[in-house]
Amino acid sequence: MSDKPPAEPPSSEITPESRYLRRRELLKNAGLFAGTAAAVAGGLYLLGRKQTRFMDAYVPDAGLVNAPVAKGQGPYDTDEPRTPYEDVTTYNNFYEFGLDKNDPARNAHTLRPRPWTVTIDGEVHKPQTVDIDQLASWSPLEERVYRMRCVEAWSMVIPWLGFPLGELLKRVEPTGNARYVAFNTLHDPEQMPGQRRGTLDWPYVEGLRLDEAMHPLTLMATGLYGRQLPNQNGAPLRLVVPWKYGFKGIKSIVRISLTRDEPPTTWNLAAPDEYGFYANVNPAVDHPRWSQASERRIGEGFERRPTLPFNGYAEQVAHLYTGMDLRKNF
């Protein structure tokens, strides 16, 4: 420590007052610049957040299915590369949990898939209400690797676990009057908060013609990728009809009714000119707002691939529609 008073700086080093003030103004302006730039960027970030929320998306770890499973590579399985589990479970349309693709993964934890019962009624000899686990034990689980084509022109390849719907229907013995199968999703705004909004008429309803429902390709899925079906994918029971647009694959089913008349379907009620009852994948029939001729396979990059008639299952199902005008019956 020195006793010497600090040396005065030479006058040549003293900042002129004008420059001193200018420096303060520069600093102030730099601060205002940074603050404003950050505020503008932050404001835009908040507005566009929907598109970036995938970064913290919740990838579920649904438990492995213990039941013995007949593994893929059956007659209907595609050997195209499977869409990653992470994408299948975080990119979903399930308006009961929100309108954006990443909403269901975020919000579907409120759904309680157990205990769960399914009511099967209408034109059947054995109407009944069954516990989901009992229903799932009626037929052995199979793995089916199917293409899924969404009406929004994207597609995935998903290894489902499930059993043919036809097996279930045979068991309840449809009457001679049964011509259609109608499905209902759970209606419970407590478990499905999106149902508090009148976006669609709840509950979500869908339907198939009986011959479509009995087709061996038509699957009731209870799992995917060897795991239990995550809530956002329609736990505990959903429909998979691989030659139709994805919205036909009604999720979280609580009721299956056999009917004489064509049942209403949710998207057909909401916009009949855009979404028909049949909703067969058809590259020749455009959606009013976009072409259906090609699609983007999720996880495959930018290149679009051509869409196949009946999503590539024409050989198996085209005969169901002989004599029908598929431009009218879209």
Binding site: L32, T36, V40, T52, F54, T90, K101
Partner: protein, 210 residues
């Protein structure tokens, strides 16, 4: 010498306004935009184009209502940012979504009103971006320049229509932009009426005086 007031404002707007675009260019290839990065980039650039365009159209009404003058200083920057996002939106669609296949793009623009309307909005913004410089204001003369730039309102309306048609079911969000645009129109209309009344009053007074 006093520096220009608010010299930081426009640079800050440019940096803040363009940073989401830079972020997207980084996030997209890294997979941080989700499983369908093209869709995310399309939605985000389209939304920002509309928001910035509406913001640029809010500058004059803000002056009329609150007597603020600073929005007028950033109007041009807001407009050019809006154009940048609109052009990026189209480029993402044409290059990444359609793979530059001209047939598909032309078919979309010609056949689908939703795309026709969006493309028209972009086309309307091109002359506005080109004539955004002071030199062009001088060359056209302010009244003509101003009339030309009213096309921004048409573009914004078309942008909202494009957004409404894009949405599958819930139109709440596009209707918010429609409501804001409606409000901005109403303020300008009220101002126009007020000006005309004032002019008529002056004319009446000068006619009455001997």
């Amino acid at each position: 010498m006093a520096s220009r007031p608010l010299p930081w404002l426009n640079p800050a707007l440019v940096v803040g306004g363009l940073s989401p675009l830079v972020m997207m260019a980084v996030q997209g290839p890294r997979g941080d935009l989700g499983p369908n990065a093209v869709e995310a980039a399309l939605n985000q650039t389209g939304l920002f184009a509309l928001v910035l365009l509406v913001a640029s159209l809010a500058c004059t009404p803000l002056r009329l209502v609150f007597k603020w003058t600073w929005p007028a200083r950033i109007r041009r920057t807001l407009g050019l940012l809006a154009f940048t996002y609109a052009a990026s939106h189209f480029l993402v669609y044409a290059v990444l979504d359609q793979g530059l296949k001209l047939g598909g793009i032309l078919e979309d623009i010609g056949k689908r009103p939703f795309i026709t309307v969006g493309f028209t909005a972009l086309v309307l913004l091109v002359p506005l971006a080109v004539t955004s410089t002071n030199a062009w204001v001088r060359r056209l003369g302010f009244p003509r320049w101003q009339r030309l730039h009213r096309l921004a309102y048409v573009a914004a309306v078309l942008g909202v229509v494009h957004f409404v048609w894009r949405v599958k079911k819930d139109v709440t969000e596009p209707l918010i932009y429609a409501a804001v645009l409606g409000l901005l129109f109403a303020i300008r209309a009220a101002e126009a009426v007020r000006k005309r009344r004032a002019r008529d009053a002056v004319a009446a007074r000068s006619a009455a005086s001997p």
